[in-house]
Subunit: 334 residues, 2 copies
DNA sequence: CTGTTAGCGCTTTCAA
DNA sequence: TTGAAAGCGCTAACAG
């Protein structure tokens, strides 16, 4: 529990010399630096973070609001958290976690200056938290891209471009009747992910562009629903020769069902998913996909937060990460 | 960005009066309190956390080291994190997350006083981090119960008692040949979970106590391994009539395999698992189990950390949460 | 290259 | 019931 004053006395120099020796913000003679370092080692000194925070008006802490709702995938959340931790640590920032459900607390850690900036995961369309977040004086970065971001910075995968790319890749490989598979849209009350609209729009635009009919299928992630969809539309009627799947919870299930009903990919049917790489490679197949780069989103969110912290002039904007197609086992060569 | 000095001026009182009005640590006349509160509202004042931390020498932050290794279950990690967040928030603490893999950083947040105490998840037998953690001046709580905790506080489920309870319950329901199923012990280099030894010991002790032979089966969580175990020991030879399963990754798989091979629970075979409740209810069956109370472990870790923070006199000790048996579908009535 | 000193914004003793 | 003032431990002018 030695303080800098102790070090100064021990090393026979002044307080500020110790400070500058540590920060390197002004030249210190080698001799002095060594005596200071020796004193630090001898007394096992560690600078007090709270004192530094008060003097500097920066805590070197990033706030992260994580969703705890049962319907969000813990695996995805942990991947976000991990990439954000990593990116923050690289810039010597630590991460303070708050649950998104406790929004009052989220606001409070920002208002009381416990954190220098806030990253908010799992933003939904018309998110009720946006107005209060926009009122904050600290930088806020939303993960997600709501129609009205209230002037806040956003990072997300470019789901519109991703959907278009997926459909184009299917078409370029010979598919001419491509359906989109997605989860049922929640009731008017339920939360709508910010990507839902954009993904669907991208699908429709690509279909129009390529002169294909668009056909959106909303599928509950239950075995029965998937089974009957495959039976009715892919086996009895060979209605589609391409599937654009934006439906993570049903992806592995779909693979098992196609296998069980003898629909062979990519011969009978080509499939391209939009999903994180690991879920595309989960289950009995490896799905060609437009991968959602979760780590890159996390890293970008940290970069944006820190950017807004240093240069206060950056105009608020959304950053949408560009898609890339990863051919795996469910598409033909082109 | 108003400070307390601003509030004092605005309300026409002294700085200390504002402080006491907020903390309630000395009586303030209603009139004064109201004027202070009015000023606070008018100026939108929020106390600066870093100033308070410096004055109080407490940050109201708990450090939490979470594992990021690919072989730990994200779902379990998130359940721990959630319960720890909840318990911390209840005591007006926030949680700073560090990855367990970056141990240097974990130590640093404690040494620099960024956190008041540290909770370390996923402690393994002979954990290399223990000596350095023990040297810290802040309270540390380990989740896990290593043979040598180096004088640190520990919280864990009582796996020894849990294993004994599981075996006794099987025996009381008529099982007389009970095998234990567990994952393969890692090589001598790999990390050994702190519960491995205790769970196995509990199984052996209960078998001895009940006059049963003990038979430990180490099973890789692969379909082939499970299939051949079921075939060889449960179908061709009906070697066991009870299974004590401490093997989370194989549990659902075992259920599917038994179903496929026509082994019926609880008629042909009774099964009791040690696992979190949700994994016991996952897959094609609902396994009777001794539930690992993850939320309670998380809450207890927070309680212990805060306890050691207030009363420095508490002797270091391990707290082992007692098991309870939850009958589900894989055991008979007794 | 080094020292002196005035903050950062709160808490709390001491004094009224 | 209230006020004045001394810290908490560091940073960063300002002054040599």
């Amino acid at each position: 529990m030695a303080t800098m004053t102790d070090i100064a006395r021990e090393a026979g120099v002044s307080l500020s010399t110790v400070s500058y020796a540590l920060s390197g913000k002004r030249p210190i003679s080698d001799a002095t630096r060594e005596r200071v370092q020796a004193a630090i080692d001898r007394l096992d000194f560690h600078p007090r973070a709270s004192a530094r925070a008060l003097a500097l008006q920066r805590t070197s802490l990033l706030g992260l609001a994580v969703p705890q709702r049962p319907d969000v995938d813990d695996h995805v959340v942990m991947e976000f958290v991990g990439s954000i931790l990593g990116a923050a640590h690289e810039q010597d920032y630590d991460v303070l976690l708050v649950t998104a459900e406790d929004h009052a607390r989220t606001l409070r850690v920002a208002e009381e200056g416990k954190v220098d900036a806030l990253i908010v995961m799992d933003v939904v369309e018309g998110d009720a938290r946006i107005p209060s977040l926009a009122r904050l004086h600290s930088p806020v970065v939303l993960i997600g891209n709501p129609q009205d971001a209230g002037g806040l910075a956003c990072v997300d995968f470019d789901f519109l471009a991703g959907a278009m790319l997926a459909v184009r890749e299917l078409h370029a490989r010979g598919a001419s009747r491509v359906a989109m598979l997605k989860p049922p849209s929640a009731g008017p009350d339920g939360p709508v992910p910010t990507y839902a609209r954009r993904s669907r729009l991208g699908y429709a635009m690509a279909c129009a562009e390529l002169g294909m009919e668009s056909h959106v299928v909303e599928l509950p992630p239950e075995p029965e629903a998937v089974t009957s969809f495959v039976r009715d539309h892919l086996v009895e009627q060979r209605e589609f020769d391409g599937l654009f799947v934006h439906h993570e919870p049903a992806l592995a299930l779909l693979g098992r069902t196609l296998l069980a009903q003898g629909v062979h990919c990519p011969d009978d049917l080509q499939v391209v998913a939009v999903s994180p790489a690991d879920v595309a490679m989960n289950g009995p197949w490896e799905v060609s996909s437009v991968d959602i780069p979760i780590p890159a989103i996390g890293q970008t969110s940290v970069a944006m937060a820190l950017e807004r912290l240093s240069t206060h002039e950056t105009p608020a904007h959304a950053r949408l990460l560009s898609p890339a197609f990863v051919p795996r086992g469910t598409t033909r060569a082109r």
